[in-house]
């Protein structure tokens, strides 16, 4: 028991060490942490509440007083962009978590049990993929009303399929493995086998899908809000700040109102993608370029061993 714990600890250590040695993961993590910190301390950094109205100083371009300028009501864009990140990141992370949760559970069940249940869930996933996402958004908006949680729900309900397919695939191959056979022989319950024994082995694709979904949902939130269908405008998300750019005059004359929020999205998503790439490298050696040292032996032995 204690030994197992030790092993886990050292695996985690190795994982973190590998991650910190992966340049793209380090760059990504740096970007993300800086941006999250900035958004948490938005008011302290900008010195102004994002909602503070100062009509006399409206529509000012970037200056030393207002690094990102001000909007039509004289609200400080730096403060708004920074605190907007809080909500956008929140939407991305929570939605991605939920989507992954749905995808993982369904994928695990479908992949382990196979048969009819698998066929049904597979059908549903195909259906959701076929069903136009905007229609789903619309139905939710008209049934539940617009809101930050509804956006999250919509994303979770329309974004679980990738994870589902990954997990399902992993389960398909893992359920035939010896240790699962052994579990079955011990008479462990299905949920125990699925969630306690197999699931931990599928963690790496789930983690990678999680980061990728965060990026996707943050961009989706921006798009949806830009169209006026996303998070209520009173919540300054990056997407909601971009609504200003619906007005061609703003696009033309007040570039700082949309360039900064859009850049924030791009940089943050870039950071998330970097982390995702890094995680993929660290967690999934299959993606490594050519043969890594550790794989070398396996390749040699495997070649001889495979001849029948």
């Amino acid at each position: 028991m204690q030994k197992k714990k030790l092993d886990q600890q050292s695996t985690a250590k190795i994982f973190i060490r590998n991650l910190l040695h992966n340049p793209s993961a380090v760059i990504g993590l740096t970007i993300i942490s800086i941006m999250i910190l900035c958004s948490v301390f938005a008011v302290q950094i900008s010195g102004v509440e994002p909602e503070y109205i100062d009509p006399i100083n409206g529509r000012l371009g970037p200056s030393l007083d207002h690094l990102m300028g001000t909007d039509q009501l004289g609200r400080d864009m730096l403060s708004r962009v920074l605190s907007g990140g809080r909500q956008s990141i929140y939407v991305g992370v929570i939605a991605s978590f939920l989507a992954n949760l749905i995808g993982t559970i369904l994928g695990a069940i479908a992949g382990y049990l196979g048969g009819k249940i698998d066929a049904v869930v597979m059908r549903v996933s195909e259906l959701v993929m076929t069903f136009p996402q905007l229609i789903l958004v619309l139905i939710f908006v008209s049934l539940l009303g617009q809101g930050i949680n509804n956006v999250i729900i919509v994303f979770a309900l329309t974004g679980w399929m990738t994870t589902f397919r990954l997990v399902r695939g992993e389960f398909f191959s893992l359920r035939e493995e010896a240790f699962v056979e052994a579990d079955r022989a011990f008479g462990f319950s299905k949920p125990r086998i699925i969630f306690r024994h197999i699931l931990p082995n599928t963690l790496s694709p789930i983690v990678v899908a999680f980061t990728i979904n965060i990026a996707i949902f943050i961009i989706a939130e921006a798009g949806l809000s830009f169209l006026g269908l996303g998070v209520p405008v009173t919540t300054p998300t990056w997407g909601n700040l971009l609504i200003a750019a619906q007005n061609p005059v703003v696009v033309d004359e007040y570039w700082w109102l949309w360039v900064f929020p859009a850049m924030s999205i791009a940089i943050f998503v870039l950071g998330v993608n970097f982390v995702g790439d890094g995680l993929r490298d660290v967690l999934d050696p299959r993606h490594k370029s050519l043969i890594a040292k550790s794989k070398w032996k396996v390749a040699l032995v495997g070649r001889l061993g495979s001849k029948k």
């Binding site: 136009p132 269908l229 696009v251 859009a262 993608n273």
Partner: protein
């Protein structure tokens, strides 16, 4: 499948609390509430919901898509007007981005670490991170407003004017959509080319003394096309509304802006028809994927002798 989708779309739209007649003509615009009742009867909204669904299905099947609540135009007319706008935009962008991505991806894969490779890697990473409407806004700001070289989208429909007169209006939206699609496509092509380059038959081709360009063109290209084409086919739904954001930025009168207008106005007949259309295109796309696969890969070709 198509049947399930149609039922889902229909009943989901009926879940909404909004009364289609009142969405069409709010009470304070109506000359008389009796007139509204009359209209409701004429449009069959008093029938049983199953009957309404069947009528709707029958109408759709016979090409009668009904009326928009918002503008009162026939939906088929709206589609006829706006479909070409989206098709022109998306098809051009799809073709352009494919050509660019394949060229760049091929060069990138062929010479790892070369200029094309670096370019495509940067594009692949950065392009995915930038929201596509931001690309549009930036292009708009620079090319339409700052230097005024190009019009800010606003499609001119064919008719009285020659193609070349309409052409400038296309440049910015098409460029935006092309760049937006390029990122994913390039990533995919590069990987696909790299995968193919590692395949043994490339070595065989080289062992024949075939020149490198021929190896790339005749062996690598064709075989890396498969996954890319599959991705492309999956992007086909773009043809009927995936370009929503780009269309909104450029006020392009396509299906995308139609959906948005319909969604913000709860114009259900339009939403239903357009989503049906999208679903059909997606079904068609997956069918197309199989065909493309069989063309590119003789192993899955139908009727191949064994």
């Amino acid at each position: 499948m198509a049947f399930t989708i149609s039922a889902l779309i229909f009943f989901a739209s009926r879940l909404s609390p909004i009364d289609p007649i009142l969405a069409m003509i709010p009470p304070d615009m109506a000359s008389d509430s009796a007139n509204l009742e009359q209209l409701r009867e004429e449009l069959g909204l008093n029938d049983h919901i199953i009957l309404q669904y069947l009528t709707w299905l029958k109408n759709i099947a016979t090409g009668d898509f009904g009326y928009s609540l918002q503008s009162g135009q026939q939906i088929s007319e709206i589609l006829a007007l706006r479909m070409p706008a989206t098709l022109e935009l998306v098809l051009t962008a799809l073709i352009l981005s494919t050509i660019l991505a394949l060229t760049l991806g091929l060069f990138a894969g062929a010479k790892k670490g070369g200029i094309a490779d670096k370019l495509s890697r940067v594009l692949g990473v950065v392009g995915i991170a930038i929201p596509d409407f931001f690309i549009g806004l930036a292009l708009l700001n620079v090319f339409a407003y700052r230097v005024s070289w190009l019009p800010s989208g606003n499609r001119v429909a064919p008719g009285q004017i020659t193609f070349w007169d309409r052409f400038p209006n296309y440049i910015l939206p098409v460029a935006t959509l092309t760049i937006a699609m390029l990122a994913v496509l390039i990533r995919y092509t590069r990987n696909s080319v790299l995968d193919t380059l590692n395949r043994d038959f490339v070595k065989t081709a080289r062992s024949k003394g075939v020149p490198e360009w021929r190896v790339l063109y005749s062996h690598v290209f064709r075989n890396s096309l498969g996954p890319v084409m599959v991705l492309l086919a999956f992007r086909l739904p773009l043809l009927v509304g995936g370009s929503i954001l780009v269309e909104t930025v450029f006020q392009w009168p396509g299906i995308g802006t139609t959906i948005i207008a319909a969604v913000t106005a709860s114009d259900y007949p339009v939403i239903m028809v357009v989503s049906m259309l999208i679903a059909m295109v997606i079904l068609f796309a997956s069918f197309l994927v199989d065909i493309v696969k069989s063309i590119l890969d003789p192993r899955v070709r139908l009727g191949g002798s064994n």
